[in-house]
């Protein structure tokens, strides 16, 4: 294998490697007919990324003939070759990647200014093929945006945030931080951003849906996309199906495939072909139509009584406080059994901000007390490992 990258493309290559380092610890390298593929996957196999550089990206691209060559190496070692990204543009004229089959070494040679030559001989391991199976085109929903938009959006979430939830309707998309049900409710801070469809280059929502996935991996892609200025395409379906983030131009195709939290009791799928399935999560907000009243009861009581574990049932009041959350309406429409329900009117009393506990009910975090739960929620609770003891059904009028 013998490839040469020149000029600004060296920085693109370096950025790709840094971006891959956000996914996994190992870099899988595979020179293919259609280009050089650099891939990485995380340890739990819930995130996969692939950068495919077409032969046109290189000023020279020769691949080993005969048997396919695949290798993997510690990504930190490759990152060490491309240190100080900022000075790369100014100092590196070209980068030569060569495979020395006899010595099992991959050589990166950087030709720099002033005649300085940096040669890195990295050892590698033969590896199996790393390929995620996904089909972007079959996804029901697709959004495309300038990277700047997404970067500005995720900026609002703390760097420590693990997961983010994205909900779409016909006209809008919401980004929210995902609060674990195990998190202390009183300390949880919920952040939500709403973007309208006209902020996107392309906005095609087939089915209203809400998915939750790991933010860190999205950030990994955004770091790369922002530096290239290329638009990011997001393909997704219902929860549990993988989310695909894609950046393409004429010489480069990037795909990040991330698992999303699934809605039902799906456990992680340990498929050999690496299809992405999520771990069993708390379903965001499932309840049957006729149990809406119980919810409202629960919510009303908790509001009036303050944070209490055992609210007494009272007469339902459909016109309850619910200031924000058009997203709530969406959640209600999406049910485990697929039933549609009439949207209950909610927004009435806008004096007070919604009770946090209430919000968390709708955002899928399960309340600590089982007496507040309705049938449906309990059913959904069954899939949760942590709250498996909350099996008692509250009998509410």
């Amino acid at each position: 294998m013998d490839c040469v990258v020149t000029g600004g493309n060296v920085k693109v290559l370096a950025k790709a490697i840094h971006s891959l380092s956000r996914i996994g610890d190992e870099l899988y390298l595979e020179p293919q007919e259609n280009g050089l593929a650099l891939r990485s996957v995380n340890s739990s196999r819930s995130a996969y990324a692939c950068f495919l550089f077409s032969p046109l990206f290189f000023s020279r691209y020769t691949i080993p003939c005969g048997h396919a060559f695949r290798c993997k190496m510690a990504i930190k070692c490759v990152q060490a070759v491309f240190r100080s990204l900022s000075s790369l543009e100014k100092t590196v004229e070209k980068c030569h990647i060569e495979l020395d089959g006899e010595k099992s070494r991959l050589t990166f040679t950087l030709h720099c200014k002033h005649g300085l030559l940096k040669t890195h001989n990295l050892s590698f391991q033969d590896s199996e093929s790393l390929q995620a199976v996904f089909d972007k085109e079959s996804c029901a929903n697709m959004l495309r945006a300038q990277p700047r938009l997404l970067v500005d959006t995720v900026l609002h979430f703390p760097p420590s945030l693990e997961e983010v939830s994205v909900s779409v309707s016909g006209e809008r998309v919401w980004f929210r931080n995902h609060v674990d049900d195990e998190a202390e409710q009183s300390k949880a801070m919920l952040t939500e951003l709403c973007l309208s469809s006209d902020e996107f280059d392309h906005f095609a929502v087939g089915a209203q849906t809400s998915i939750t996935f790991c933010l860190k991996e999205l950030r990994g892609l955004l770091v790369f996309a922002e530096s290239t200025g290329l638009p990011v395409s997001v393909y997704f379906d219902e929860p549990g199906r993988p989310l695909v983030l894609s950046v393409t131009d004429s010489v480069l195709e990037v795909n990040f495939v991330l698992a999303t939290l699934s809605d039902d009791s799906n456990l992680r799928n340990h498929n050999n072909n690496n299809t992405k399935q999520a771990r069993s999560p708390p379903p965001p907000d499932d309840f049957m139509n006729d149990d809406i009243d119980s919810y409202l009861i629960a919510m009303e009581t908790s509001e009036l009584a303050g944070p209490s574990d055992a609210p007494a049932p009272r007469s339902p009041s459909p016109n309850h406080t619910l200031t924000t959350q058009p997203s709530v309406a969406i959640h209600r429409r999406r049910l485990e059994s697929g039933e549609e329900e009439e949207e209950e009117e909610e927004t009435e009393d806008t004096e007070r901000p919604p009770n946090k506990k209430f919000r968390s009910l709708f955002f899928g975090s399960v309340c600590p007390s089982d007496s507040q739960l309705t049938n449906q929620t309990i059913k959904s609770q069954e899939v949760l490992a942590s709250d498996s003891d909350d099996d008692t059904q509250a009998s509410l009028p």
């Binding site: 930190k76 060490a80 002033h114 940096k118 040669t119």
Partner: protein
């Protein structure tokens, strides 16, 4: 820690008095060789030489000529003592290390001779601090017996490019190998780390190469831990000369310009690593 006492009167007893309008002209250079606590000071009418050594394999010297000082009076041919360099630097930078344009800390360094402490008077904006640091009997610095007649290979490089290489050196490598040769690769720095090996090659016709005099191909390894401190001197310098002699001993000489543009020198001597080289 600095000792603050009433100032001494009279210069009569001092064997060495050295004054600087800007203490940074001394402290900056000393920072470049502070990898060990103790330093051997040797003053002659030519100026001040400060030596720091490590495990008998590495020696760093800083030379501050008499001309750099605003006052440099020495009563004997050679005055020597040993002090704790860390403490000395703490005193020299007692008014804070930051530079404010127009404000400089002045230094007056006085030494009474054998057995007496080193007295430092530091003044900034009318505030005077007096420090007295205990001195010890100076150890004899190692003589690496490195003389120019035995030098086999010598290059002078602009520090800019070496700084980049040194900052990127693979620290998982125990040794730094320096290869100098009249033919390819001319001047090469190599590391052998966990991920593989890396080479930094400087061609002899590079515009970073100010002088290239290599007579024979030599490849020597030096412990990375010993050479790492030299990066501080490299950072301060504008030029560096790299020389090896027949035994493989390494001499690195750094040309440092101080705040006032005056030239000082820092040099490092290092023994080659005893392990047998392969290839």
């Amino acid at each position: 820690m600095p000792l603050s006492t009433q100032s001494q009167t009279g210069d009569d007893n001092y064997v060495l008095v050295a004054s600087l309008d800007n203490v940074r002209n001394l402290s900056n250079i000393l920072k470049a060789i502070t990898f060990k606590d103790h330093a051997i000071f040797n003053a002659t009418p030519n100026g001040l030489k400060v030596t720091v050594e490590d495990s008998k394999c590495l020696q760093a010297n800083a030379f501050i000529q008499a001309e750099i000082f605003q006052e440099f009076t020495i009563r004997e041919d050679s005055v020597g003592f040993q002090v704790n360099l860390t403490v000395l630097l703490d005193c020299l930078t007692i008014f804070g290390g930051s530079t404010v344009p127009g404000v400089a800390t002045a230094l007056r360094m006085c030494y009474n001779g054998y057995g007496y402490p080193l007295t430092l008077f530091l003044e900034e904006c009318g505030v005077v601090t007096v420090c007295k640091i205990n001195t010890q009997e100076p150890d004899e610095p190692i003589d690496f017996e490195f003389c120019s007649t035995n030098v086999t290979n010598k290059v002078i490089l602009q520090s800019e490019s070496l700084k980049e290489a040194f900052s990127e050196l693979d620290m998982t490598s125990e040794v730094l190998q320096i290869t100098m040769s009249p033919s390819q690769p001319y001047f090469r720095l190599s590391t052998f780390g966990n991920s593989g090996n890396a080479h930094y090659d400087y061609p002899k016709d590079s515009d970073m190469m100010e002088l290239f005099q290599c007579t024979k191909t030599q490849s020597n390894r030096y412990k990375m831990s010993l050479l790492k401190p030299s990066t501080k001197a490299l950072a301060l310098s504008c030029k560096v000369s790299v020389r090896t002699d027949g035994r493989g001993f390494l001499s690195l000489q750094y040309l440092v310009r101080n705040d006032d543009g005056q030239i000082c020198f820092v040099e490092y001597y290092c023994c080659p690593d005893e392990e047998v080289e392969e290839e």
